[in-house]
Amino acid sequence: MATVTMTVNGKSRTGEAEGRTLLVSFLREELNLTGTHVGCDTSQCGACVVHVNGEAVKACTMFAQEADGAEVSTIEGQANADGSLNTIQQAFQDHHGLQCGFCTPGMVMSAAALLKDNPKPSEQEIRNYLQGNICRCTGYHNIVKAIMAASGQDVSAVAAE
């Protein structure tokens, strides 16, 4: 066991981790931040995407001790200071970018990483960026639409109502 300290959503958090403890297990079980989901546990589905030092990573495929000293952002830190949904989250709601919601934390975190690098992505760029995020409900159209809308772009050309 080692003591691990990281800044999570702006607050310094400390907990215990074994060598094999995954970042996602540390967040969920040690820090009780259960918004980050474990879907496949094989780094394919993207439900566990968080940001480590500003970059999107799959928290199921990184050890907690690797994030010692890092800045970590999770879905719990995305809402505005007054508790209202941020632009991306609101756009997911407005455009029905979720059904069961299981993949949504990862989708929102991937979308945030994309828009940080590329503030006005094309539909194709959004679809390419979401290659590592799997949603089994929506067929992706409304997710793509939500991300287009969150970037301030017209969504009328995006397929499917």
């Binding site: 080692a2 074994e18 060598g19 094999r20 995954l22 546990d41 094989t42 780094s43 993207g46 995407v49 970059e55 999107a56 990573v57 799959k58 495929t61 990184m62 050890f63 001790q65 690797e66 010692d68 991937s110 990483a113 994309l114 960026y129 290659q131 590592g132 995020n133």
Partner: protein, 262 residues
């Protein structure tokens, strides 16, 4: 996953020392190793993370050489090589997905030498040099069959030096579920030396297609290779494609790579 001790040294010397103990193994970005550990296919007593070593990260140019630290992520390679080394930037930008590219490293990929990994083809086609903590190894001498390399126990890839080609391209025929190449072909032109390297297809891993290299050396155009066909001997046959299918893809992808090279 079985438990193990975890160390994260900040210098190459510390990492080499940490790896000298029995049962220790290096950890790059972990995008292959962690799934392997989860399946209990591997049980190291200690993992030595190489991600905290600043001197092993980043991309720099030195004359006609692009020097890439072994701990540099695919995402960084894709960004940094864009513009000056188009084929490598494209190769890196097609690995896995964005989150995987933010963790996986070039050194980790080369040390693993998956027969369908992308980077080995770029190293072979350009005649890159793999730098370790103790020596330099030419790409032609580095890859040694499936998941096997010239690396000794405890030896670390600290960087890779690529002679930057005048023109290059990478063509990847993706196996759609894994996004690994069913066949990938990297073409690089340095004056009249042309390198053509193939990944995903060989039973012994990455290899150079010397017949195509010779044809392209005098005439760097898709026409120069249109009459050539690669033999199916020694190629992989599996449920995704027969050896004959892969042989055909090698010819098609080589032509496409030459036509697209920039």
């Amino acid at each position: 996953m079985y438990d193990f001790d975890f160390e994260k040294p900040s210098t190459i010397d510390e990492a080499v020392a940490a790896l000298s103990s029995e049962g220790a193994q290096a950890l790059g970005g972990g995008q292959t190793l962690i799934p392997t550990l989860k399946q209990r296919l591997n049980m190291p007593e200690k993992l030595v993370s190489l991600t905290g070593i600043a001197e092993m990260k980043g991309v720099s140019s030195d004359g006609g050489t692009m020097k890439i630290g072994g701990g540099t992520t695919h995402g960084t390679v894709a960004k940094e090589a864009k513009g000056s080394f188009a084929g490598l930037a494209k190769l890196a930008s097609l690995i896995g997905d964005p989150a995987v590219r933010n963790r996986g490293t070039i050194g980790g990929s080369l040390a693993n030498n998956d027969p369908a990994a992308c980077y080995p083809s770029a190293c072979m086609a350009t005649g890159a040099t793999i730098r370790t903590n103790s020596r330099e190894i030419a790409a032609d001498d580095f890859f040694d069959g499936l998941f096997t390399t010239a690396l000794e126990e405890g030896e670390i890839i600290v960087g890779v030096d690529f002679p930057v080609p005048e023109a290059s391209d990478y063509q990847k025929f993706e196996q759609p579920a894994s996004r690994f190449p069913l066949v990938g072909v990297f073409v690089a032109k340095h004056g009249d030396r042309v390198g053509v390297a193939v990944t995903g297809a060989g039973e012994d891993g990455v290899f150079r297609w010397t017949e195509a290299e010779e044809a392209l050396a005098g005439n760097f155009s898709a026409d120069a290779v249109s009459g050539l066909s690669h033999s199916a001997d020694g190629l992989i046959s599996d449920l995704h494609g027969t050896a004959e299918y892969r042989a055909h893809l090698i010819g098609v992808l080589t032509k496409r790579a030459v036509a697209a090279a920039s």
